[in-house]
Symmetry: C3
Subunit: 682 residues, 3 copies
């Protein structure tokens, strides 16, 4: 089932709406619907954090205001995404069942407060969630305006209470088949006399106890994800038990490292996420690149279109500096999501709250309350553009290249001490590798490292520190069948329990890469080395590249050096290599090089593979992407620079949005053209 | 009753003295009085932190050493300010009544230690304080040398113990008339399901619970002030019950944000404060400006002369860097207090302690112990100058301009998330606005925002985020009657419960200002914009000004633009405006502009209003102030630069201190002249 | 007894080895011995952190694997240093006896985890340590391959549990002869009403209670050292009770301030330490200077050769940045230890662990496991060089100069508030003073301030804030007998209870120095002053020197000024002085001057005293040191620059290692020559 089968034909446009804050202000509830219609809003999300208004006392349910709201919105042509309220519990729940409150890693139990501080293991919490979810489902299962279920809100965090400790021990017993010696070996507990003699001795990581036992840390993070997924399943089961048949989603966050989203995404029908980029902090083209990567990852989690569940029409209030969006930025940011595969543009929030912690968070309707504001005008205009783009809704993104992403590997790598405790820059490296491909005007999938690689031409596996069973085989097979692999330094170091492989490294891939790692050097912040053409080598003519942070020293065994180090004691040693293996090629980058190397490498590979860009000669600062419905290709060009840019629109293009060949700052051009074979293939 | 009625005719000169540390060193106690007399010291403060020496066991009182000390000082011509000892309790008190120890916001009770860690709610603590205070009062009520009561020491901090929680709930019940829904609305608890159903559910803010519920935070801070004021009243009542008739004071601190001093000041007869500027860190003229603002605020709290209760003759030991005062700085700093309305110069402390945490804090008599030290010589010299200035004691400061200051507004503004979590720079803005007026050689009052504005010519209300009921009306009335108002960005945002006003902003003042705020943009540290003359506008010729941090975008509705933005998407939009309203004018500054704008604006207004400076043509780096006794004006000129400065002493001036027309570095000139009408008025 | 009597004739070469991690990998244990032999390794340290493998359940001892390992190593020609396992306890011990777990200063008890978190007071812990130590001793007392006992590991930290509180009170009762008033005076508790009325009221310092009562803090630190020493004695007694006769050592750490090593060193036969310099972070010659100081301090603790117990052959994993050692650095660092008096070069560790927190710490044998690595090759080469240097083993270092070092003074000085809370730079000053002498090619002893000064020509006492009873007398006597003393600012301030001396300062030395301190000024980071030649003065011609941080203003009383301040209000006041006293001279440096002053001063003194350098004309970046066996002098020249250096090898030198007159980067030259009189004496 894909989004086209689950959602309306049009793009969803709207966002979070919290009428429970305004029940004493009927004229405002009235006026809001009027304003939403003017802004072409067709969907709102209700019920996030509404528990206290829905069940003010245990088993006293007051759904009437919510039912009325759904009906009145429906009457105004506006659909509802209905949230389960588990993101914040009412006070009576915490008072009566103190076990629902989280315990911190220092073993202090939290007081009632904030949000997201409930224990996912607590039976009492699960019971109350089951009750309210199933009641909500009973009420709205058949409502024609209720499109989908938004389960809880931004799942995150962890709990160290006795219930969770017990659940963790049970989870470990399962994982290690009840064999404590297997756990001891996996966690290498002989070090520092940490040997366990019984599962009952296990405690979650704590600053008061063990915080540097990497195997424990890694399994704890896995458990937290597993327990969260279990809670999510529990929520969905309650909805289904209540009769709900609509699709489910959870809203994920930007570069969140507390959970393995790849695991969570399996439990829901549609992935959605909350995007709050820091526009206008640095170069917007860089911000767009990072945001594009997140969009592509969200698409990659289920290899399907996703939803932009939250974004800010003006400025969020929790950034260090609340920068006003420049004219056009609102639409540009929303359309970027669409360009990367979103079937919606949704805001947090429609109406700005009067008080408490988010009172200064931007909204479509602000405290002033009028429609004569810049934000409202721009929001209404975007609503209108989305209407004209309706044919694109539910179309797919086809990408010839994939970047592998692995949260467990990242957890292990960043938890390890060494080789660079002053940051390894995994995320930045991911962005650079991704950017090399994306800025060569290719669509790129960002996918879990365990995904099949069948149809790709290029696969990049940056800093793949941990190799799960099967990964090396899958990469070998990919190259031998003719694919081009890009690997980097600090790959193939440890197995899935974070034990370092013994023998030559990168583990099990030295033949594919034609080399082995000998040493890894780390550079201080501010230090740099340079990569220069090797004899008979080079990447893009005689260009050289600065590198920083990490420099591997490798010994070649078949690979050909393209670049070599210019300085330090490893001057002259290979820094970028290529190895032919089977029908394909494997590139290995030894050092954390500047971004331009990645683009030059992508273009070299495109030439080797006769891969064409979506659009040629796109100016710097512009991003090109495409979606397809199988017969037509829809091309998006977006200008993230502050100056107008000349765009080479092809003569056969059918313009869907935007006009002319000059794209203003923060402008978006969308055109359609016939799909000529697989995208990205000559 | 004013200070002239409560205190001796002369300036008080002296400081804290702790003979209880030296009871085993009789020759030192002997020698100290001799040295004090040489330094012209006429007053010491005794008893601060002396509880353990006064009541070594419960109900065992050992006042004899203190009585002897007061008598011997008196015999030497030195009066006493007597402190109540509640600033630090003896160990037996904490051992017997553990409830007196504070509980932190994380709900951990403190151990005995440090000072200032007693619970203000504890009945046990109040009982013991009542006992010792009334005993002290009985002993010293009629002593001719005991001038006044110094209640406790630098009240500060808060306690989250169960007693305080209960008191907080009671205070809230009063405040909201027992109506929990009124509290829910005020705190906007529908957000995040935080609705209270009973006052018993309320907990003070905590990092373990709620820390971002702004209404709760704000009311907690108010409660802390109320509870501290209640404790202060309790202390004073005990003194009065013991027969004390002398005036009372509390010593306040520099820019302390933990309490609303405006509220506390009402409980005592005289305001005093402890001033420890970081002289010689940057430009001393800037430090003098900030210190002058604090002096003027202390005067403003009761609109009366105040006392400089503590200052350091050499270098305090708790600054990051203990900078020696340059020659002359000791007198210059002391005389600045006098120039701004102080009736004393007092030091912490007379005799440097031998051990423990303040052993390296500067003192009039240091470890060396001789009178042949630079500090002693300079202290003696200042004592002599204060003698010659005796006619000025108790004279008043008359100011044509006032700057409004509001601690509750600051609490709310700085607690809010957005628009600039990386600091709003409220304090710096206050200094700039104040500095614009002060450097135009006007006396300036710094007064609580709730004060009457009757007699002022100019009122500045910088960043008045919160408007209490009546404030907008008072400002409107002030302008309509002919006053000149200066308002800035980020004013009129929220009501007294920190709920944002709905509708046009600045709330209820858009007509007075002739504009409404549309947006507020925040700039990163390092970013800037410029304000340039608007068409037919300008402030001081064609000058332009850099601005940073915050830039409002306003829509004019009658106001005339003087300056406009030079950059970003709001280029050309108004940045400084003026609006005629009634008989007066209202200026509105949209952005956080550099300091020179404020001086240019002040001078423009002075020209418009025919206001004359206290002294014209004063060189940069010098500060001019004046006091008056109703018939004569006493003008102070102080040179805070490192180089001599030429001062235009008027021909009819009667020199009281200093000589000639060239003021040396850190020199002070004081002259008298006949008072020609209301100061600052042509 | 010296090391020659306690250890084999040769240098020890090897390091920590942890076979308990590899008991499931028999081929690796096999292969490791083979590789060790190839690397000329002759000693390993076993048993550090092996408790869980040695006593998996209470009173169940499994020593067989360890016995087999010792035997097999012995068969391979490799000796063992045997550790007691108390550095980390097994889980069953903490489960059964929770009192063994430490309590933090905030009174929270730690969970099991990490290492080093046992209470040194706990009777239960002491009982179990006694049992395992005596069992180990019984097993290995007579083993011919077991060379010595390595007691625990890197003793450190403190415990605030009730048992420790009680022990602390007992320790204080002893120290103050049961007289609480003596303690009150020593701690100056009259300040802030902190008077104790009974020893039972005493609590260790805590962030929840007292943290700034300097006397309490100081005595607590002394107690922690005393209690650790007591525990160490307890460990050794258990070994001796088990029959062990081999020497004992403890491994100390680099610039560790948690314990007074001078006190601990008394309890063991040989001092050893763990050296992990940050090579290649800045200039290596600076790193070498700091490391040399630590080596010299380790030698100074017992005035005898020491052992380099741990060092990293590659890169440690816990530095911020894991920098690979440049070619040659491994040998250079190891030989520096030898040059300064070490009788060993030992690594942590021989075989890199597969998992847990130190899996990426460098090792002689890494995860790859082959001998064809750069690290292994360099380690083997160093092993070979150490063989050729065997004649030097156990020879002594003779130094004409000493630098006084006092941990108690440092504790008090750094705990004090003022004069520069933004760091006093004690350690850096020590390095500069030491560097002035060392870079003038003198051997330097770094010795506890309480050491006899009999045989030295020069004694430097930098920042000797605290004067213990007898110190001033010893310094006076040293100078009067003809010695040259170098003192600096911030000396002679406080007595051993941290009470400031009353009267002229530096206390009891104003006659020796010919001056008294009047004031001390502190400079902000970035601020500086300059020292320029005084009239008829100067240090090295007309050179001037920058100074920072602290500047004392002194009044001369006999001393002659050499340099004076160039700026600020104390311009022209003396900044470096010299005073003749008895047969000697006392220099006093008033300000924290740049390093070159110290070298110029050292050379001036050498000229005055006709002291000759070990080797003249050594190029910058090279370090010269020497050892002697009484008849010959062994001179080491090491090149810490990145470029080759010309070394003036004397014609009569017998080269022991290295070749030619040009020393490559990171190269070491060792030559022997006849000893002509006392080293360093013309």
């Amino acid at each position: 089932m894909n989004t086209a089968q689950m959602l309306p034909e049009e793009f969803l446009y709207g966002g979070d709406y919290n009428p429970e804050q305004w029940l004493d202000y009927p004229h405002i509830l009235e006026r809001d619907i009027e304003l939403m219609r003017k802004a072409h809003i067709n969907t709102v999300t209700l019920g996030v954090f509404s528990w206290a208004a829905l069940e003010p006392e245990e088993n006293v349910f007051t759904f009437d205001w919510l039912e009325r709201m759904v009906d009145r919105l429906h009457a105004g042509g506006i659909s509802t995404i209905m949230a389960t309220p588990s993101g914040a519990r009412p006070r009576w729940l915490a008072e009566k069942y103190p076990e629902v409150l989280r315990v911190r890693e220092d073993r202090t139990r939290e007081l009632f407060g904030a949000r997201h501080n409930h224990c996912y293991t607590s039976g009492a919490y699960r019971d109350r969630v089951q009750m309210i979810n199933s009641r909500l489902a009973q009420t709205f299962a058949d409502h024609p305006a209720v499109l989908m279920w938004h389960v809880s809100n931004e799942y995150s965090g962890e709990c160290h209470c006795p219930l969770c400790q017990e659940a963790f021990r049970g989870w470990l017993k399962d994982r290690y088949d009840g064999d404590i010696d297997a756990l001891n070996h996996a966690w290498w507990t002989a070090f520092w006399s940490h040997t366990y003699t019984d599962f009952s001795q296990i405690e979650s990581p704590s600053s008061r106890g063990d915080s540097a036992l990497h195997g424990l840390n890694l399994d704890w993070k896995r458990f937290v994800t597993a327990q969260t997924a279990d809670f999510l399943r529990h929520e969905i089961e309650a909805l289904r038990a209540g009769g709900a048949r609509q699709p489910t989603t959870i809203n994920l966050m930007d570069d969140y490292t507390g959970l393995d989203y790849g695991r969570l995404a399996k439990e829901v029908d549609i992935v959605s996420w909350d995007s709050y980029p820091r526009w206008h902090r640095g170069a917007d083209a860089e911000t767009a690149l990072e945001t594009g990567l997140q969009h592509d990852l969200m698409r990659g989690l289920k290899e399907a279109p996703f939803l932009l569940m939250e974004s800010c029409p003006a400025s969020p209030n929790w950034h260090e500096v609340s920068k006003a969006k420049r004219p056009g930025m609102l639409a540009c940011a929303g359309l970027q999501a669409v360009a990367h595969g979103s079937d919606s543009v949704q805001f947090f929030q429609i109406r700005q709250s009067r008080g408490s912690s988010e009172k200064l968070h931007g909204a479509v309707i602000d405290h002033y309350g009028g429609e004569d504001t810049r934000v409202f005008r721009e929001a209404a205009q975007l609503g209108s553009v989305l209407g004209t783009l309706e044919p694109l809704a539910h179309s797919r993104v086809e990408a010839p290249a994939a970047v592998l992403w692995d949260m467990e590997s990242r957890w292990a790598m960043e938890d390890a001490q060494g080789p660079r405790n002053a940051r390894l820059h995994y995320h930045e490296t991911l962005v650079k590798v991704y950017g090399g491909l994306r800025r060569s005007a290719l669509n790129v999938d960002v996918i879990p490292a365990s995904s099949p690689l069948g149809s790709y031409e290029i696969v990049a596996a940056p800093m793949l520190y941990m190799l799960h069973p099967g990964t090396a085989e899958r990469l070998r097979d990919f190259v031998s069948r003719g694919g081009t692999l890009i690997m980097t330094y600090w790959s193939g170091v440890a197995d899935e329990t974070d034990l370092c492989f013994l023998g030559p490294a990168p583990h099990d891939l030295t033949d594919v890469l034609g080399l082995r790692r000998e040493e890894i050097d780390a550079l201080y912040d501010g230090e740099e080395n340079r990569l220069v053409p090797a004899a008979d080598g080079g990447l893009a003519g005689g260009k050289s590249y600065v590198c920083r942070n990490l420099c591997e020293i490798v010994r070649l065994n078949g690979a050909k050096p393209l670049l070599e180090y210019a300085e330090d004691f490893y001057q002259g040693r290979p820094a970028l290599t290529v190895n032919r293996y089977g029908l394909g090629r494997a590139y290995y980058l030894c050092a954390d090089a500047e971004a331009s190397l990645h683009k030059d490498l992508a273009e070299r590979i495109m030439r080797q593979r006769n891969l064409r860009p979506i659009l040629a000669d796109v100016p710097d600062g512009c991003e090109v992407t495409s979606r397809t419905d199988g017969s037509r290709e829809y091309v998006f060009v977006q200008n993230y620079s502050c100056a107008p840019a000349a765009v080479p629109v092809p003569p056969d293009a059918e313009l869907l949005s935007g006009a002319g060949n000059v794209l203003p700052a923060y402008g978006t051009l969308v055109f359609a053209r016939p799909l000529a074979g697989k995208p990205g293939r000559e």
